[in-house]
């Protein structure tokens, strides 16, 4: 073995030009693979942390009737089915050892109404109790104008990114109640027209549902303007609103409706099966506002204090769940589904990466693309290495033939060529891996940030923060080993076919 590697190493040094060509390819491949893995892992980890900790938790409960599990950014306009059994769900979740915290919420699309524009604009509404939301997702956004509403208040928080889009749509600059334009937060076009800027502290929105149910126009008082700490562009499509206003907007039962209007028999029926509700009760029974779809029942943003118990009587769309550390998703989901089914809750558990749709799967897609790119790069590397080593074998026929003549077996010759490629891979590929690791470590120090939607996805947040784990490094090393073996096969075959006679006939 020592002899094989001695000859292999000295041959590498002897043929420096060829060795450098092969080495450069191996270095580049290993470097790109390591860095790429770091970027993808960083993105996956960033998206994971930001979505889990900042937006939807580890697991989301959705209605059994909900077909698509993607409930974050569903662009098809399909509404999310309501959940009417939260009290049952709450009881089940409270008994689950894997569950650390949970939050019921409403989530659906709403149409922004504006007399001055014929083109409708849309925004996502996230309805929840403000205090509970803060406990579930502490510090996931900061209020840059106005203030955070108290628990039970009727209020709307608009993300800065959404406000910019709303301005583009209706030329109205939304401000929190009692607020005035803050120059540094103004969109460039709005700043240019600051003297004649139309401002408003209320928004009229109509909930969007895909069924025949009629929804209601609701006027929301703007309490604050917020900025999400991570993935602000993506999460910035979501306005946070109190759950009761949300329900009114979407035409769901509010807690007030439940306690005041719906008898226990009907509540029981709702809990059993909601699919035929319209047929059973007629649209008017389900809706807060019966009658024409566009009948405006504008409600002011007067603060209404309700006990949490009352609020839980109404409809939600999702329940966000955070798990305790170390709990396996598969186990947790299986346990939850079993318990919820036994309780007849009519919901199922979906992991965050499925619930977040293409965003959660983006890491897998980019990783696949990167793997394909690297595979192509390594294919080119293999071809060049095969060609170079085969030429080397033929050029060294006399030397190899002599080795065979003095008693070297074919396996020794194979080992010599494999050794050369292995050493090149170890030295240059190893250097490539190390350089990749260093790059991954160094990039976060540069504090590269972005406001671009796509780049935020790629970064897994606002800052470019690649991350490597031992699995990524092992994958790169494995690929190098495969390249080494594949690249050595044909040259080894050529070298093995050289006979001792070649040592003489080529003299």
């Amino acid at each position: 073995m020592k002899l094989t590697f001695t000859i292999a190493w000295r041959n590498i040094l002897r043929h420096k030009g060829k060795s450098l060509v092969i080495g450069a390819i191996l270095f580049t491949g290993a470097f790109l693979m390591t860095l790429g893995n770091g970027v993808v892992s960083g993105m996956a980890e960033g998206v994971r942390n930001n979505i889990i900790n900042g937006f939807m938790g580890d697991i989301v409960l959705i209605s059994d009737k909900q077909q698509s599990e993607n409930i974050l950014l569903n662009m098809t306009g399909t509404s999310i089915e309501p959940i009417t059994s939260y009290k049952t769900i709450k009881r089940v979740l409270a008994g689950q050892p894997s569950v650390r915290r949970f939050l019921p919420a409403g989530k659906n699309l709403a149409m922004l109404l504006n007399d001055s524009s014929a083109t409708p604009a849309f925004i996502y509404l996230l309805g929840a109790d403000f205090a509970e939301y803060r406990k579930m997702f502490p510090d996931n956004f900061r209020v840059i104008e106005g203030s955070y509403p108290v628990s039970g208040a009727r209020a709307l928080l608009i993300p800065a990114a959404a406000r910019d889009e709303m301005y583009d749509y209706g030329n109205i600059w939304y401000l929190p109640e009692g607020g005035s334009p803050v120059r540094k937060n103004l969109k460039k076009e709005a700043l240019a027209r600051i003297g004649e800027l139309t401002v408003s502290s209320s928004v009229v929105m109509m909930g969007m549902t895909s069924g025949a149910n009629t929804t209601t126009d609701v006027r929301f008082g703007v309490k604050g303007i917020i900025s999400y700490r991570s993935l602000n562009k993506i999460f910035g499509h979501f306005c946070l609103v109190d759950i009761e206003s949300y329900r009114e907007c979407l035409g769901y039962f509010t807690s007030g409706d439940n306690s005041a209007e719906v008898p226990p028999e009907e509540k029981k029926l709702l809990g059993l099966d909601g699919s035929g509700l319209d047929a059973l009760f007629g649209a008017g029974d389900l809706l807060v506002s019966a009658g024409a779809a566009h009948a405006v029942k504008q409600r002011t943003a007067a603060a209404v204090k309700k006990a949490p118990e009352d609020a839980e009587n109404g409809a939600y769309n999702v329940v966000f769940i955070k798990l305790n550390d170390g709990v396996r998703y598969a186990d947790a989901i299986a346990g939850l589904d079993r318990a919820l089914k036994e309780a007849g809750a009519g919901v199922r558990a979906v992991p965050w990466n499925k619930a977040s749709g293409p965003i959660g799967g983006m890491a897998v897609i980019i990783k696949g693309a990167l793997f394909l790119f690297t595979a192509l790069l390594f294919c080119v590397a293999v071809i060049i290495i095969v060609n170079t080593l085969t030429m080397a074998a033929l050029e060294r026929s006399s030397e190899i033939g002599m080795m065979r003549a003095v008693g070297a077996r074919k396996s020794f010759i194979s080992g010599m060529f494999l050794g050369e490629t292995a050493l090149l891979s170890a030295v240059f590929g190893g250097a490539g891996v190390l350089a990749g690791i260093l790059a991954v470590e160094a990039i976060p120090l540069l504090k590269i940030t972005t406001d671009n939607d796509m780049l935020q996805l790629l970064y897994g947040g606002d800052m470019f923060r690649p991350l490597l784990n031992s699995g990524d490094i092992a994958l790169t090393v494995f690929q190098l080993v495969v390249v080494t073996v594949i690249a050595s096969l044909y040259p080894m075959r050529v070298a093995r076919s050289i006979t001792p006679l070649d040592a003489i006939s080529r003299d």
Binding site: T6, I7, E399, V406, K410, P500, I504, D507
Partner: protein
């Protein structure tokens, strides 16, 4: 006792649709410790004969025994082992491994035999001294003259204590003085190590070094004169 026994050895090479006979029925016996020269003009078949004896090439027909073992029907691995253990080679163009120094080249066959590094090194140093290259032990082939390289090749051929050393025109690429010194050295080693030497040449001047001369022409050996 004969170390080599050849009976009716024929070797033919296909050349397109033509068959070229290189050896046309050679009978030869070589005794242990011989210092024998095969002499003949270019194309007479002397290199082919050496190649077949050295298990580098294969007979078309006939029998070749090396050390009492028939070699015409052995596998590649068995043939390789015979070359490693029983035969030493000296090539016309030296054929040293360019990336190894003198001692490493000499000990190379021993390391193929899985001998320990220290044992191989001791044996290589002894032979380097015997061929007069002790001072050049750390030199690479490219740093040596033609004569010095051939000395390394001789030491390498002898390092495994083979029964036979085959040398195909070992002086062809050397000047006459160096060539003479190489033949002297081979003869010394023959006497010192008791190894059988068979070398080919087309130079009549080298005949004075051989104890036995076999002439070959057109693939056939000429009858040797009766021993005096």
């Amino acid at each position: 006792m004969n170390i080599i026994e050849i009976k009716d050895l024929k070797k033919e090479y296909p050349l397109g649709s033509t068959i070229v006979p290189a050896l046309r029925g050679v009978d030869l016996e070589v005794g242990e410790g011989d210092f024998m020269s095969i002499i003949g003009p270019s194309g007479s078949g002397k290199t082919t004969l050496l190649n077949v004896i050295g298990c580098i090439d294969f007979a078309t027909s006939g029998s070749v025994k090396v050390g009492g073992r028939e070699i015409t029907a052995l596998s590649d691995r068995q043939i390789t082992d015979i070359r490693l253990n029983n035969i030493g080679f000296i090539f016309q163009t030296f054929n040293l491994i360019p990336v190894l120094d003198v001692l490493e080249n000499i000990e190379f066959p021993l390391l193929l035999m899985k001998r320990s590094g220290s044992e191989a090194r001791r044996r290589a140093e002894k032979l380097a001294e015997e061929v007069g290259l002790k001072e050049y032990a750390a030199h690479r082939p490219a740093e040596l003259s033609g004569g010095q390289r051939q000395r390394v090749a001789i030491a390498r051929a002898l390092v495994t204590n083979p029964g036979i050393v085959l040398a195909d025109e070992p002086t062809a690429n050397l000047d006459s003085v160096t060539g003479a010194s190489i033949l002297e050295l081979m003869r010394e080693m023959n006497e010192l190590e008791k190894t059988t030497f068979i070398f080919s040449t087309h130079d009549a001047n080298v005949l004075k070094y051989a104890r036995r001369v076999v002439k070959i022409k057109d693939g056939l050996l000429e009858k040797e004169p009766a021993a005096a």
